[in-house]
């Protein structure tokens, strides 16, 4: 078993003007595990994701992916290195079909240049058909979206759109999958479906998953490791059991009184 972390976030500080979005956040994501990042609204979770993706440059700290320092790498290069992510507000390309959206996940693997693409028959066609086969086999069948593959994404339900975003991320053959609130706005059934897909990804493909989520039930059920942020700081980190009973975590979510009640102190 590989003991080195897949992704290591080390002492990251992120400031916007006078606001400290992240203060000294450190996080280790182990390969093959599901790690969840939780915390109240505004705690800095999406900022953390955006920093890892490369949209924000932290003033301090670094990020290491599989032993390589990615702190100064451009976002699209990080993607080529195996970092895939979904967004809180679905960021699918509305002008395209489901299939085209998913195919974009394989963009980096297409070697044909523009002239070859315009000529199509030859290298470009071979690559396109190979990509199509791979996507149908590994992504579309797995996520059960074959019935909508030629539809325009704008016409689909919210739950389906989120699943297609996951599909697109999967098409990138990622080493680590970052999911920003994958079940936000879903009903019970859709949440269970998504949880099942995520678990299947871990079990069948050994995928490393980092997710932000508010649905505590799902987080506690499927995560191997949980990190809690509040006001840009890491206040607790450990197994779901450990985090659930941690006084600081309870205080962050429910207030001081509840925390005292839970731990039996100062009542």
């Amino acid at each position: 078993m590989n003991l080195a972390p897949m992704l290591s976030v080390e002492d990251v500080h992120l400031r916007f003007g006078g606001i400290n979005a992240l203060s000294g956040v450190s996080l280790q994501v182990k390969a093959g595990e599901i790690t969840a990042v939780i915390g109240p609204n505004g705690a800095g979770k999406t900022s953390l994701f955006n920093t890892i993706s490369g949209f924000y440059k932290p003033q301090q700290g670094r990020m290491v992916l599989e032993g390589q320092d990615i702190s100064h790498t451009k976002p699209n290069v990080r993607a080529a290195m195996g970092l895939a992510r979904t967004f809180q507000n679905v960021a699918l390309f509305r002008g395209m079909t489901v299939l085209d959206n998913i195919k974009l996940g394989g963009h980096n693997r297409m070697a044909a240049n523009t002239l070859q693409a315009m000529a199509y028959w030859g290298q470009s066609q071979r690559e396109e058909l190979a990509l199509r086969e791979e996507i149908e086999r590994d992504v579309i069948d797995f996520l059960e979206i074959d019935h909508v593959r030629h539809q325009s994404v704008a016409s689909l339900s919210y739950g389906l759109q989120k699943r297609i975003e996951l599909a697109r991320a999967l098409a990138m053959r990622p080493k680590i999958l970052m999911l920003d609130e994958p079940v936000a706005g879903m009903n019970r059934e859709e949440t269970e479906d998504m949880a099942r897909f995520i678990l299947d990804l871990q079990e069948e493909r050994g995928m490393t998953i980092l997710l932000i989520e508010h649905d505590m039930g799902m987080v506690m059920d499927i995560s191997n490791h949980v990190a809690v942020l509040n006001f840009g700081q890491l206040i607790a980190s450990g197994t779901p059991q450990y985090v659930r009973n941690h006084p600081d975590v309870i205080e962050a979510y429910l207030g001081v009184r509840e925390s005292q009640l839970a731990t039996g102190q100062g009542v």
């Binding site: 395209m96 085209d100 974009l104 693409a117």
Partner: protein, 346 residues
Amino acid sequence: MRIGDFRASYAHDESLLITRVQRSWMIGFVGLLLIFPWVGGSYFTYLACLTGIHVIAAMGLNIVTGFAGQISLGHAAFMGVGCYTVAWLDKWGVPFYITIPLGGVVSALIGMLVGIPSLRIKGLYLAVATLAAQFILMFVFREWDSVTGGVRGVNIAPAQLWGWVINTDKDIYYLIMLCAGMLLLGARNLLRTHVGRSFIAIRDKDISAEVLGIDLFRGKLMAFALGSFYAGVAGGLMGYFYRAITPEHFTFTLSIFYLAAIIVGGLGTVLGTILGAAFMTLVPEVLRSVVTLLTLWAPNAMELLSPMREMVFGALIIAFLIFEPHGLVEMWRRARRFFHLWPFKT
């Protein structure tokens, strides 16, 4: 009614013409194009040549603005770059099959230069930057006498292929249609490969595109380069078609004309480009016929032709944008959907 449309391989699913009916229509259409000059008469052949040139240029603009979402108000100037390159090379007797691609390449280089601001600015700001480029290039066309002949312009000798002088509309018709066919096919192919998809991704949500590994700057520059290449080729063909070229052929008004063509036709589609360019080329001609008819009652109606052209143009743009923003192509698709299920109602 559409029946029996099933596909047994991914290759079939991804091909451009899927059903036998579609293939038959395409063969028929190509056949019609081939014999058109012999049956259409000289006036319509002339119109067809003009439409062909406009279709190529409009396709270039659709790649930049329709596929990749980068507004360009300077497209006519890129045509001029291609045309003047052809004119200059022609002075040295370089044959057309070298001058036209070279004209496209020089245009593409200038286009990439103009596209550099797209790295930092979007939308309206980029539109104004391209507008500035249009006027600056026009200034160059008018002032750089040694190369462009200044305001008086240049002449271009007819294209030649091993002794066959391409002198008449009929001859150049085939050259134009050949170029148009290849370039339109190339553009259509782009859409079913990763290059075209990356353009649309950049247009729809460029942050998402970056996260998927697309290099935004390279993508935008490539879109500008391609679009300008098409414009340059169209400009070169225009040079061999008109044979006497002045800067007034490449004004801001022409840039607007192409923008109108792709909006009226349908942004981001190849069929829309063809429909839009054809529509925009034919409308002034129809108008001219109407006004000529009016002179039977009002002898000085001809004076009104130019202003009427503008009014109709403006009104069409406004009407299409309000009532049919997806353009003629959407009307076409509605008609097709209706006939797919005919005689059963939807």
